[in-house]
């Protein structure tokens, strides 16, 4: 039995809004991530994907449960131990989250300057290599506002891999990009995971992209894990006709994977559950 790189156990998170109303966003979430694999976390808008990701990177504190990364529980750590773990992972944020006052090259150099004792001339070379890996060498001296959405993501990715991380988190890598650019970013994700052997966790609701990059998948719905499994199992659910599926959860996943306009996720008036969640909130 391989030890998981990340173990999420009974994770629960509540949010309190400004009217002091509490709503539960994550319900007892459980799953493991194994070394070298690419795990895709998917689910509709507002189902708690970003919340889950933020808990995993130590940005949010869950109310219950544990998240073990390299067998250490990050939910009980102080900032310094957490930072030691953070140095081992890279994150590609949805917008790229580049530091806007620095050039692309400086963005990538920053983690190296801050967390390694590498000589400045060598940092320069490392930056070149990382930029080359994401095909962004030509844009080294641009500032982020001069880049397109796809270029920002590539630059963000170069920064995420600057310190040769063991784990890479991706927050909606395909959001806001055209299908061809999405495919190119997916290629990049796959090649980084193969070349560097990193473990990847990808949050997305872009299904073609999810099926391209995933080894295993987690389906979230209203803050609960509906299904964790190999990509193959999800492909079967996707390709089986809805009438043949008996389990309501399977029907729900089927509708989600195919993006169908009717099914258990949509009510009789054609309003999706996700829209309702976003307007009503849920307890």
């Amino acid at each position: 039995m391989v030890t998981p790189v990340i173990e999420v156990n009974n994770l629960a998170k509540w949010f309190t809004d400004e009217n002091h109303r509490r709503s539960r966003v994550l319900h007892d979430v459980n799953f493991n991530v194994f070394p070298g694999e690419t795990l895709v976390i998917m689910g509709g808008s507002g189902c708690g994907k970003s919340t889950l990701l933020n808990c995993m990177i130590g940005e949010l504190h869950p109310d219950r449960g544990s998240i073990k990364i390299f067998e250490k529980d990050i939910t009980t750590m102080d900032e310094f131990s957490l930072n030691d773990i953070r140095k081992k992972f890279g994150i590609l944020f949805q917008s790229g989250a580049l530091f806007n006052s620095m050039t692309v090259g400086e963005n990538i150099a920053l983690p190296l300057q801050e967390h390694s004792e590498i000589d400045p001339s060598i940092i320069n070379i490392v930056v070149t290599i990382k930029l080359e890996q994401v095909r962004m060498l030509a844009h080294r001296n641009k500032i982020p506002s001069q880049l397109s959405g796809g270029q920002k993501k590539r630059a963000g990715l170069a920064r995420a891999i600057a310190l040769d991380p063991k784990i890479l988190f991706y927050d909606e890598p395909s959001a806001g990009l055209d299908p061809v650019t999405v495919a190119a970013i997916d290629e990049l994700i796959i090649s980084l995971s193969k070349k560097l052997g990193v473990t990847s966790i990808v949050v997305t609701h872009d299904m073609p992209s999810a099926f391209r990059i995933a080894d295993r998948m987690v389906m979230l719905h209203k803050g609960k894990v509906l299904k964790v499994g190999e990509k193959r199992e999800f492909e079967v659910l996707r390709d089986t006709p809805a009438e043949e599926l008996t389990d309501p959860n399977d029907q729900l996943i089927h509708q989600f994977l195919l993006g169908l306009g009717h099914g258990p996720l949509t009510d009789s008036e054609g309003i999706s559950e996700y829209e309702k969640i976003m307007t009503d909130g849920f307890i």
Binding site: G58, E59, R86, N100, P111, H115
Partner: protein
């Protein structure tokens, strides 16, 4: 009493109760947010001191000298010309306001003493701080707020970089240092403004003016002024960083933080100034 008036009376009582309830709740919310603000500022001050001390004593935590210098230039240099101009005007205004009254008592030349004390102890630090809250405070709040909104601050944390150490400390130290430096300039300019007006316009003898300025001032006036300047700088930059880091709600939120920074800064500057003046008065400083 008819039913009608009864209902009316009941309604007005209910209305009154509701009004009282709402006002109380409104006040309660305001007081609570005030307490939260002060608590947050206290925690921030603790963090700033901790990181500053740590970066000086612990070799593995870097003291960000380049960032500090960059921020000092940014905070200070652009505001020099404004402070020079404003403080000159203040010197001129003071002389012209004081002159008729002093002249009545045949004390026209002691306008120099008044200007010296007023500028060094009070107006030098205060006017500089007000100008800087508009210049540095607003721009720091807007900058950090925009960084929060574009996930840059989150990205810093994700790269194991503490935003307090990385963003707040250089800005706060830079503002404190530049506040002190600019106050010196400001003091000098106030005196120059007063001097030129008094000598050129009111015909006071320049030797007498300088003599009076010298006798009026003792070291403690200069030092209490600079001490206040340092505290003012700390206030402005901390308020700006605090409100900037707490931005939510996109561009609107950034705009709100910027305005709030200027308003809160000016109110708290004058309140602190009042407090210090009282303390200095009591202890004869």
């Amino acid at each position: 009493m008819s039913d009608r008036t009864l209902i009316k009376k009941e309604n007005s009582v209910l209305l009154m109760l509701r009004l009282i309830g709402r006002t109380t709740l409104g006040w309660y919310d305001k007081v609570m947010s005030g307490i939260r603000f002060l608590g947050g500022m206290t925690i921030l001050l603790g963090q700033i001191l901790w990181w500053t001390v740590m970066s000086l004593v612990k070799p593995d935590i870097r003291f960000r000298r380049p960032a500090l210098i960059y921020q000092m230039v940014r905070v200070g240099v652009r505001s020099i010309s404004i402070i020079v101009l404003v403080q000159m005007f203040i010197g001129i205004i003071l002389v012209l306001q004081m002159a008729p009254t002093l002249d009545m008592y045949g004390q026209l030349s002691s306008v120099a003493n008044i200007i010296a004390i007023a500028v060094f102890r009070e107006l030098g630090p205060l006017i500089t701080a007000v100008v800087l809250s508009g210049f540095a405070g607003a721009s720091i709040a807007a900058e950090i707020g925009a960084m929060v909104e574009s996930e840059e601050v989150k990205a810093l944390r994700a790269h194991a970089l503490n935003p307090i150490n990385f963003l707040v400390v250089p800005r706060v130290l830079a503002t404190v240092l530049m506040m002190i430096g600019l106050t010196v300039i400001s003091d000098v300019m106030g005196i120059i403004g007063g001097f030129t007006t008094a000598v050129g316009f009111l015909g006071i003898d320049s030797q007498v003016y300088l003599q009076n300025t010298q006798t009026a001032l003792v070291a403690k006036d200069f030092i209490t002024g600079l001490f206040k300047a340092g505290i003012f700088g700390l206030q402005i930059s901390m308020i700006a960083c605090y409100l900037g880091l707490r931005v939510t709600g996109g561009a609107v939120g950034v705009g709100k933080a910027t305005t709030q920074t200027v308003v809160f800064s000016i109110v708290s500057l004058i309140a602190t100034d009042c407090l210090f003046t009282a303390i200095f008065y009591i202890f004869g400083l």
